[in-house]
Amino acid sequence: MSKSSKYNGDDIWKNNVEKINSELFTLTYGSVVAQLCRDFNNNYHEVNNQLDKMGYNIGLRLIEEFLAKTGVRRCQTFRETSEIISKIGFKIFLNIVPTIENWSSDNKTCSLILPEPNPLTEFVELPITTDSKISKELWYSQILCGVLRGALQMVQLDVDVNFVKDVLRGDDRTEIRLKLNKVLKDEIPAGED
């Protein structure tokens, strides 16, 4: 039995989470992305980067909300971490449970497959026909990568997080790749000795 089964994302979602309409969330995020595209004159790399920064800052705060609400203990393996991210993290914040697959042989790299539709992209269509650049450059849900990277950094996990596929771009599915670089040590900061 995996350790994550000790915590039940469904129960927390049902009984211990204040909820709002997912459309409101979709619209809010949509208006952020749309305005960033206008602001940066459709330089989608800038848009991706700005969304990533937003997400990173959110992740630094969201992890504390997550730990305080769930009481989750430290994971022993990255496999366990990925289960917690999907079944509890995504569940209690976005009410979706991505599937985890594509493990590398060293158990340090895996993929999160987001279900469709999801609360960031529902009803969203990129203007692919009028702007051919957009489907090659924009990662519409890039904020999620920032959130995950920021949140994991706070629990001492240095992880690369990036999109490799997105249904909005015409791909067959929406896939986030996670790669554990290293587990950071808690050290006495310089000047504190």
């Binding site: 705060r61 504390e64 305080a68 609400k69 203990r73 430290r74 950094q153 706070m154 629990v155």
Partner: protein, 154 residues
């Protein structure tokens, strides 16, 4: 409140302080730095005593005692360190420390976008910034009020 460290912080409360609202009077002394060092060492020892990989129970440091005082300790997975110093008769304050984290820190720092949540020091910061104090009024006032409302507080 004092916080220090890389992605980590020390919240120093002394429920033995007599002054209402002036709880962290030791913050500007070296005591908190020393305390940080002791806790760091004890933590290292605790992890060396057991094999964390196989042990089902965590060997986390929860408190230690001196002749007169007990130091209560809780560390979040994000390395925030919550510390209370009490008289030795106070046995266990883990639930109080958890409350400081899961309620007061969340409300007054995490959900307060005017408060930082990362206290890592940067070389070009001045001394008081380097210590990364949580110094917003609501956090100090509310934790203060909470601690004084406890039955262990006299």
């Amino acid at each position: 409140m004092k916080t220090t460290g890389s992605g980590s912080s020390v919240s120093l409360n002394s429920s033995t302080a007599n002054h209402l609202g002036i709880i962290n009077k030791n913050n500007d002394s070296n005591t908190s730095k020393l305390l940080f060092g002791i806790l760091y060492s004890l933590k290292s020892i605790s992890t060396k005593l057991i094999d964390e990989e196989t042990s089902p129970i965590s060997n986390a440091l929860k408190s230690f005692t001196l002749g007169k005082y007990r130091i209560h300790y809780l560390e979040s997975l994000t390395n925030l360190k919550f510390i209370l110093i009490t008289d030795i008769i106070i046995d266990n304050l883990q639930h109080v420390l958890w409350e400081l984290y899961s309620n007061y820190y969340i409300k007054n720092c995490v959900e307060n976008s005017l408060s930082p949540v990362e206290f890592k020091q940067s070389t070009d910061l001045k001394e008081h910034e380097l210590m990364g104090k949580i110094s917003n009024y609501n956090f100090i006032h509310e934790t203060d009020h909470f601690l004084q409302s406890l039955s262990v507080f006299e």
